[in-house]
């Protein structure tokens, strides 16, 4: 009940001209960023973090949440019209969105995407408000041992799920990220690791310059390498979703919203996996399986509800564990620290209203995407006509400003360039970026908690292995690694086939 009061108080606070203006422009900018292939939600939130650096914390976080929600929704436009996902989160949207557009139902598809995104966000929002306080309370029992395993868990799960065909590359990216975080002064003795007498290196790599490099400059180079898109389709039919059609799939929407939120909750996994998992489950449960991949309304709805519900899902671990659920959530976490907000297990004790304020921010952003989806879909498609040759130089200017602005160090601009080049090369060879970023965020947590835990246990590893939550985490990690090894996968696959083949004749007899 207290939570509901906080939520409504926050909503009332947001209904003032200044907040409404911020909500409207930030969501609109988010939709535009998401629509443009090559600009991701992560880059949008990172650049916006520097822009809102001087604003009061509540205004800045409101703008960032609106940008985040808007960008994930905006990516559906190019997925439907061009078969190119605007952000990685919209890849599953192309499967049914683009066939619908080819049938001349682009407006219809965008209407369904709007409905799915808004309803998915609402479900995620409800889960954010209910799960976050419970998780924060549970996390109060976490000690160094659990936080250490949580960091390892994040890297292993994120590496596994963001590089499904080759988890080894996902894990390498994650451990590389952890190593990046080791540069600079450590927490116990202030010893400058890998600094070689350089004061800039002693300060460590800032998360934002690294992020802007990996998701900005690397993306600019990637777009330049891709073939040019010139002919832009547009929608001729209505973009207003049919309420009866939406209600027909209410079970799919709820299921996808819950699935997306839960996928968002897993550290470093994020919206794209939220969409894929929701889509796969919706297909498995559907009475119209044959339509999936050929312009299924249900499939499109599931994908969009899944990715947008993963946004509040990814914010849950940010608020309660200070561990990001996705790459954009990692920037949001960094922004909270920059603005003096301390997320973590104590959030419900030190700042209990904040979780509900963030819930209200998601609500306002979702209401805005509904407004834009109904009123501005067709005019906004003009954005897709801007050629990359004119847009990418502007993005590079913003990346430069974005990496410089927080600490006013030219060193950060060089860091952005170096990580951009490294990220571009790594991406060309199939290394995912999300585990790398998660590694940079989790590095200090892993470092301080491993050493603190070892001090507490007098150098013994026993508490790391025997405490109940630690045990669950390390067993999950071990199983994830085992199941990611191809010979083990082949052996298990053969064993399952053997068992099912033996059962089939039994059933027949």
């Amino acid at each position: 009940m207290e939570g509901l009061a906080y939520f409504f108080t926050a909503i009332v606070d947001f209904i003032d001209p200044s907040s409404l203006w911020n909500i409207l422009w930030a969501t609109l900018l988010g939709i535009i960023v998401g629509m443009l292939p090559g600009l991701t939600a992560t880059l949008g939130v990172a650049l916006m973090t520097t822009l809102t650096f001087g604003l009061p914390p509540d205004e800045a976080i409101l703008i960032l949440v609106c940008m985040y929600v808007g960008a994930i929704y905006g990516g559906s436009r190019s997925a439907i019209l061009l078969n190119i996902p605007g952000t990685p989160a919209n890849a599953a949207t192309t499967l049914d969105g683009y066939p619908l557009a080819r049938r001349g139902e682009a407006g219809h598809a965008m209407g369904i995407a709007t409905a799915g995104s808004v309803l998915g966000s609402f479900i995620g929002m409800i889960m954010l408000a209910t799960i976050a306080p419970l998780l924060a309370e549970a996390a109060l029992r976490f000690q160094s041992f659990e936080f250490f395993w949580l960091a390892v868990f994040g890297i292993i799960i994120s590496g596994r799920l963001t590089a499904l065909d080759d988890p080894l590359k996902g894990w390498i990216a994650g451990f590389l990220g952890l190593l990046v975080a080791m540069v600079g002064q450590e927490a116990i003795y202030s010893y400058p690791r890998f600094a070689y007498g350089d004061t800039n290196l002693a300060g460590g790599f800032g998360l934002l310059p690294v992020l802007v490099g990996l998701f900005g400059f690397a993306e600019v180079l990637t777009v330049m390498k891709q073939p040019l898109a010139a002919v832009i389709k547009t929608a001729t039919d209505s973009v207003i979703p049919n309420v009866r059609e939406v209600l027909r799939y209410w079970k799919t929407i709820i299921r996808s919203g819950v699935t997306g939120t839960l996928m968002g909750l897993i550290p470093g996994v994020g919206e794209d996996m939220g969409a894929w998992a929701s889509y796969a489950i919706a297909r498995g449960a559907s009475k119209e399986k044959e339509k999936f991949g050929k312009g299924s309304i249900e499939g499109l709805m599931a994908a969009e509800a899944g990715n947008n519900s993963a946004v509040p899902g990814a914010i849950i671990p940010v608020l309660t564990l200070a561990v990001p659920g996705s790459a954009p959530a990692a920037v949001l976490l960094a922004a909270m620290f920059i603005h003096g907000i301390r997320p973590g297990p104590l959030i419900m004790i030190t700042n209990p209203s904040f979780v509900y304020e963030v819930t209200a921010m998601v609500f306002m952003a979702s209401a805005s995407i509904l407004l834009y989806g109904l009123l501005l879909t067709k005019p906004l498609l003009m954005v897709l006509r801007v050629p990359p040759s004119r847009l990418m130089p502007i993005i590079l200017v913003l990346c430069t400003v974005g990496s410089f602005a927080i600490a006013s160090r030219l060193f950060d601009v060089w860091v952005m360039l170096a990580f951009g080049i490294a990220g571009f090369i790594l991406r060309q060879y199939g290394f995912p970026m999300a585990p790398l970023i998660l590694g940079v965020v989790l590095g200090p947590i892993l470092d301080s908690n491993l050493r603190r835990g070892l001090v507490l246990s007098s150098g013994s590893l026993e508490p790391f292995l025997t405490r109940p939550i630690s045990m669950v985490l390390w067993i999950t990690i071990a199983l994830t690694i085992l199941l990611g090894i191809p010979p083990v996968q082949r052996f298990l696959g053969a064993a399952i086939r053997h068992v099912t083949r033996r059962r089939a004749p039994d059933a027949g007899s």
């Binding site: 451990f175 390498k225 073939p227 400003v401 150098g459």
Partner: protein, 184 residues
């Protein structure tokens, strides 16, 4: 792909080993009675070791595949996610056919111009001037292959000039005046 994986794997083995050896040389503060498990080099050493091991696995895997005569490795984009075929197999009709060197040229232009702007011009030239020159020259160079005749050239140059002018004015105005953020 396997050949690239072999090289990259070996790079990670070398890098991980270097990190681990560097970490081993970090101070342990035994002279002030510090607990050895708090040594600054402990975690980077472990991480360097893990990275070298993972690099070794990657290199060995690639070497075995090359020996067996396989050339292509795992696809860069996932082909199947949770049992769903994730390949976007249809080339979007919006793509413009172009010679393969066109994308390499675009990439090289953007790469060189970005380095010139962010690593050389920023901090040496006034920000608005550096931005103006970078945007104008880059847009012009990227659109150069599409210049058709004097009129088209003039129009495209005018557009590049307008974009450069607008960005050089708008970025400092929005960041410095509205959001009070410092620029390089």
């Amino acid at each position: 792909m396997h050949r690239a994986d072999l090289v990259i794997g070996l790079v990670f083995v070398t890098f991980g080993a270097l990190v681990a050896s560097e970490a081993a040389n970090m101070p342990r503060y035994a002279n002030i009675g510090a607990n050895p498990v708090t040594a600054p080099g402990l975690v980077p050493g472990i991480l360097g070791g893990i990275l070298a091991f993972l690099g070794l696995v990657m290199a060995l895997r690639a070497a075995i595949a090359l020996r067996a005569g396989r050339t292509s490795g795992a696809p860069l984009e996932p082909t199947e996610v949770f049992g769903v075929d994730a390949t976007i197999d249809e080339v979007p009709p919006s793509y413009v056919p172009e010679p393969p060197q066109a994308s390499r040229r675009r990439l090289a232009t953007m790469f060189v111009m970005s380095l010139l702007f962010a690593a050389v011009a920023v901090g040496r030239l006034p920000f608005w001037l550096g931005t103006f020159l970078f945007v104008f020259v880059t847009v012009t160079l990227l659109e150069l292959p599409r210049f058709r005749g004097a009129r088209d050239t003039a129009t495209r140059l005018a557009v590049a000039l307008a974009i450069a002018g607008a960005v050089a004015w708008a970025v400092p105005f929005v960041f410095e005046r509205i959001f009070l953020v410092r620029l390089p």
